[in-house]
Amino acid sequence: MNKLLKIRTLSENVKEYVFDAPDIARHAKPGQFIILRVDDEGERVPFTICDMDKNIGTITLLIQEVGATTKKLAAKKEGEFIHDMVGPLGNATDLDKYDNIMLIGGGIGSAVIFPQAKHMKSIGKPVDIIVGARTKSLIMYEDEFKANSKNFYIVTDDGSYVEKGFVTTKLKQLLDEGKHYDIVFAVGPMPMMKAVADLTREYGIKTVVSMNSIMVDGTGMCGGCRVTVGGKTKYACVDGPEFDGHEIDFDEAMNRARFYREQEQEHVCRLRGNN
């Protein structure tokens, strides 16, 4: 059982959850994920850790209500418990050796780049960040990103906040203005990560993306999270979740992500009682 210590609503359907999870916080590093179950017969669902406090033993997750599990979680109140959580799983991001780093977050994916930004700032190498969202209300962690970056850029698809455009528009503009990056780390919806990788390929900039694949155990056993990277089958849970964005077969990964969509929607309808 893990206690929900704090819940903060960040935007429509997105909440920040702080969980009591001392065993997980102890070894957790930026880039790693956990798998949780809300109740005893619940599904195992992976979420990337977006912050951790080793001293008080907490981890923070940013979760958007999309399916049955996330809806059940959204119904929980502070002080209540979820059934279980396992982690930290996957490999940690290691950006320490780079000097000029661009982090890109799209939508809820911006949560995933936060621990990297915080870490790089703490070792004296603050990064540049672009965060993009559909509209103003979906921009999250603005103050946190500002405080933990060298340059922070916001773009919105509809132009409702700061600057109209996609993350790729902004990145291209910066590169064309002469900005130099050793590495781009992009996390967000797969079409966004693909677009970033396509752009950086032209500029010859190493690009790493984080795959939030469908998985069951998260320790290499089921193979459900397999992605094709450079023509080879890799497992997001033990080989990833981060991979070379120029090597990933995004079209295949996007198709795999849709595998259970119909069943998932049917299940959510049943939960809401409108079926």
């Binding site: 070894h27 017969e41 279980d84 396992v86 930290p88 155990d217 089921c222 033990v238």
Partner: protein, 456 residues
């Protein structure tokens, strides 16, 4: 000596059982069990015991059945085996104890497996005294709660160790809960066996991945001995075109969704794709489990594709018989070339094979018959090709020596790894094998730990 032929166990009718997840074999009733026990000749030098990886004193427990003392029979088995209700169901007795029974030519070998199951089930439903344990002041950590880990845990607990088992999943049992289906091994029964371990004082820490949540080196600081029983590992694929299409599962994933996550129950939170025309690739027990599970979900056609012939099929004969009776069609001497489909599976292109010269495994090597390609229409493909070792623990502890294939290197005699006081056994060492061999390894490691730490 009685000349009675071997008694058969009761089974659910094939047509009915292919539509439900209830146990296929119903075991012996008391009368049949007594009659079967009478067939045992109580050999002075019993060959059957030599065939048992954990050395159960078979004539002894059978003699208790003959005498009507089932509690005595339970105690006799428990001297050597900690999971008899499991072994009585999933052990390949036909190639172990029963293969050596002297009655083979006198009406068939004694049905040792069915008798073990009968006794074990009695033990689970009746309060059987557990022996008093004297604590020895030592602590052991067991990584993984599958057959090898549970066996090692039980033997060490009986010897007075404080034992903690670390399990990555939210439920204990390893392959017994995520892999073997309900219709072959009811999960309530696995839980009952695990509850017996808890009665011995064994602590089970769920949701704990050693190498991630806690490191092997941390365990070595807190425990006198560590046993690694992490199991088989990553599912293998064929590296043919189309394997990442929607509708292609590894047998591990398919069975875990069904068994551990209970996707066979209506309203399960965990989804599974229900196939109408299903092709399973492989011919081991896992392939049979996947094929028979697909039938139970209501698939119209389930074919099993295997590149060699019936003789080389690694599955137990009984499992193959059950599968065929239920309607699984075997496509032998057939090898997949490509999985067809745009976004989801629509078929599998195969080629017929013939057997050529023996290969390094001693089995005749299958060779393609040119021009014999054909397509099986299907909407689901389940790959049951075995597994490769899991790199997770090794990556977190470089000192742990593994061989070229990635399985953990041990001293054959003691099961000790390259790290002092760290032992290993089961599939993590051997690659995919059987429940009972894993149990044998857990037992041998426990014995070596007791000797090294001077506990008697």
């Amino acid at each position: 000596m009685n000349n009675q032929p071997r008694n058969n166990v009761r089974e659910q009718d094939a047509k009915i059982r292919a539509t439900n997840f209830n146990e296929v074999s119903l075991g012996f009733d008391e009368k049949t069990a007594m009659a079967e026990a009478e067939r045992c000749l109580a050999c002075v030098k019993p060959k059957c015991v030599e065939g048992c990886p954990v050395g159960v004193n078979i004539p002894k427990f059978i003699s208790y059945i003959k005498a009507g003392d089932l509690e005595g029979a339970v105690a006799a088995i428990k001297e050597n085996s900690n999971l008899p209700a499991v072994c009585g169901r999933v052990c390949p007795q036909e190639s172990q104890c029963e293969a050596r029974c002297v009655r083979a030519k006198l009406g068939g070998p004694v049905a040792i497996g069915a008798l073990e199951r009968f006794v074990a089930d009695y033990g689970l439903t009746h309060a059987v005294k557990t022996p008093a344990i004297t604590k020895c002041g030592k602590k052991a950590a067991i990584i993984g709660s599958g057959p090898s880990g549970l066996t090692c845990a039980a033997d060490l607990a009986m010897a007075g160790f404080d034992v903690t088992v670390f399990e990555a999943f939210h439920k204990a049992g390893g392959v017994l809960v995520y892999g073997i289906p309900e219709f072959r091994l009811p999960k309530s029964l696995v839980q009952a066996e695990i509850d017996k371990l808890s009665e011995l004082g064994v602590q089970i820490k769920l949701n704990t991945v050693v190498g991630k949540t806690i490191m092997l080196d941390e365990l070595l600081g807190d425990y006198d001995a560590v046993f690694i029983g992490t199991g088989a590992g990553l599912p293998m694929f064929m590296n043919i075109k189309g394997e990442s299409l929607n509708g292609v599962y590894s047998a591990n994933e398919y069975l875990t969704r069904v068994n551990l996550m209970k996707a066979y129950q209506k309203d399960s939170a965990t989804p599974i794709q229900v196939g109408n025309n299903v092709v399973v690739v492989g011919a081991g027990n896992v392939a049979m489990d996947a094929a028979r599970t697909a039938l139970r979900f209501g698939a119209q056609n389930v074919s099993l594709v295997y590149r060699r012939s019936r003789e080389e099929m690694p599955a137990r004969r009984e499992e193959i018989r059950h599968a065929e009776e239920e309607g699984v069609v075997l496509q032998l001497l057939t090898n997949p070339l490509e999985i067809l489909g745009d976004k989801a599976v629509s078929g599998i292109k195969c080629i017929r094979m013939e057997l050529g010269e023996p290969d390094e495994s001693g089995r005749r090597k299958p060779v393609e018959i040119q021009g014999s390609e054909f397509v099986i229409d299907c909407d689901q493909v389940i790959m049951a090709l075995g597994t490769s070792p899991n790199p997770l623990l090794k990556r977190s502890c470089e000192r742990l020596e593994v061989n070229k294939k990635g399985t953990i290197v041990i001293d054959e005699a003691t099961h000790e790894t390259s790290i002092s006081n760290v032992y290993a056994g089961g599939d993590a060492v051997t690659g995919a094998a059987t429940v009972i061999l894993a149990m044998g390894a857990g037992k041998a490691a426990a014995k070596a730990i007791l000797e090294k730490l001077n506990v008697h």
